[in-house]
Amino acid sequence: MRNNLRGPVLVMALLVLSPLVVEAHHGGSMFEPQKEITVTGVVKEFQYTNPHSWLLVDVTNKDGSVTTWGFEAEGPGVMMRNGIHKGDLAPGTKVTVTAHPMKDGTPAGSWVKAVRGDGVVFDPRFRGTETPNDAPAPNSSTAPPAH
């Protein structure tokens, strides 16, 4: 009886736990998923690469020093499907980024959203069929501004 139940119990448990694993290349365990940080700066470089893109942002600290932050997102395929093109975040562009920070305190995080100086919002994660190709783009000036 015990052995007969062991399988179903484990597969039911798998149903519960499997959503933890979501990232294609690496797991998300390096980030703090319950925390969000928001920083404002200027784009240093948009590394539009696989398997993950990185948005590098220079942030001026209170003491006048500058820290370069890195924000990780999906690769170009998902970016393009979400209407985010490499040229949208050119070096020098003012941007406010919300991210899940690194657990170890490194100035980096998992990019949640970025709001460009003109109010356009960039959400780099998976979305459904309502892509900018057949529906109103998420990256439009009508998108709600970041808080």
Partner: protein, 316 residues
């Protein structure tokens, strides 16, 4: 038995905060396309079809014999870009083989070997601790087949008279399905491969595939490992203008006591401007993406360099 139920209860109780911690992709909440529903009755009928045969190869050969007497139809048009991530979620099967071990629509669970059960348990314990290093993807190796069927991102299916190529964007994985009547690679020439060796035939506009010669590898992040004895049968069909449906039977004596059946769905990616393309995926082009396995099984970045231009190899 009590211990097992306590474990399950603990997992269920613990799951809300764990789920809350998961960086759930937007696809699960933002306008995801509704998947065509498979009834429990149809699932059960499909599941049971393979059980009548000694092996999945016998199942394939019986379908091949049956199709030989049918009139030939024009090859289907499967052009365009396709993806699993409009119809599926990471909670279900997306991103790594979870549905190969979960109950089907009837609630029936796959009949697993003690080895598979032990590896599932260990994998769940690792996942619960956040230790999710992936022996294949984390170091930029291929997901491999049949996990390949579950991966997100974009795909192309290239149909030609003698071969069909099934491509995924992730790690540039390509499966070649030979439909010119050839058999599998001769035994003397066989060696284990991530995508295996696939032969197929057309039954009307359905592509029926048998795959074996696979290598031993993980079925997904913290999931049991398949052996070189894994074999599968697939039936691919464009069931509506925006959907390719794949019925999959898989069996590996290391993991299963009898063949397991799952259905995979791929949705057409809207691309009216023709600006989306399947591009080469160079996993090492950006050193900021390099990760290592921690001693406890966790994943760590190698260390960042945000000085800029690190993905431009001409400047390194």
């Amino acid at each position: 038995m009590l211990k097992q139920w306590i474990l399950l209860a603990a997992l269920i109780v613990a799951s809300p905060p764990l789920l809350a911690q998961a960086p759930v992709p937007a696809a699960s909440t933002q306008g995801q396309q509704v998947a065509p529903k498979q009834s429990p009755e149809e699932w059960q009928r499909k599941h049971d079809e393979a059980l009548k045969y000694h092996s999945l190869e016998d199942f394939y050969n019986a379908m091949k014999k049956d199709a030989a007497g049918k009139p030939k139809l024009p090859l289907p048009d499967w052009s365009g870009l396709w993806t699993a991530d409009y119809y599926d979620t990471f909670r279900d099967c997306l991103g790594g083989g979870g549905c190969y071990f979960k109950p089907g629509p009837t609630g029936a669970s796959p009949k697993l070997t003690p080895v598979a059960l032990a590896e599932l348990k260990r994998g769940m314990e690792m996942t619960a601790k956040g230790q999710v290093y992936d022996e294949n993807l984390s170091n930029c190796g291929p997901a491999g087949y049949p996990r390949w069927l579950t991966e997100p991102f974009m795909r192309e299916e290239i149909v030609t008279p003698n071969e069909t190529w099934l491509l995924t964007e992730q790690m540039n994985e390509i499966r070649r399905v030979y439909t010119d009547g050839r058999d599998h690679t001769a035994k003397i020439d066989r060696y284990p491969l991530p995508e295996g060796d696939s032969v197929g035939f057309w039954d009307g506009q359905k592509l029926v595939i048998h795959t074996d010669q696979l290598d031993a590898r993980s079925m997904g992040r913290n999931l049991p490992s398949q052996s070189e004895q894994m074999e599968t049968v697939e039936i691919w069909e464009k069931t509506d203008p925006k959907t390719i449906t794949v019925d999959v039977w898989l069996f590996d004596p290391r993991l299963y006591l009898e063949p397991w059946y799952v259905r995979r769905l791929y949705a057409l990616v809207p691309n009216p401007k023709k600006d989306l393309r399947l591009q080469y995926w160079d996993c090492h082009e950006n050193p900021n993406n390099d990760v290592t396995k921690a001693p406890d099984g966790d994943t760590n970045f190698n260390g960042f360099d945000f000085s800029g231009k690190k993905n431009d190899k001409s400047k390194q």
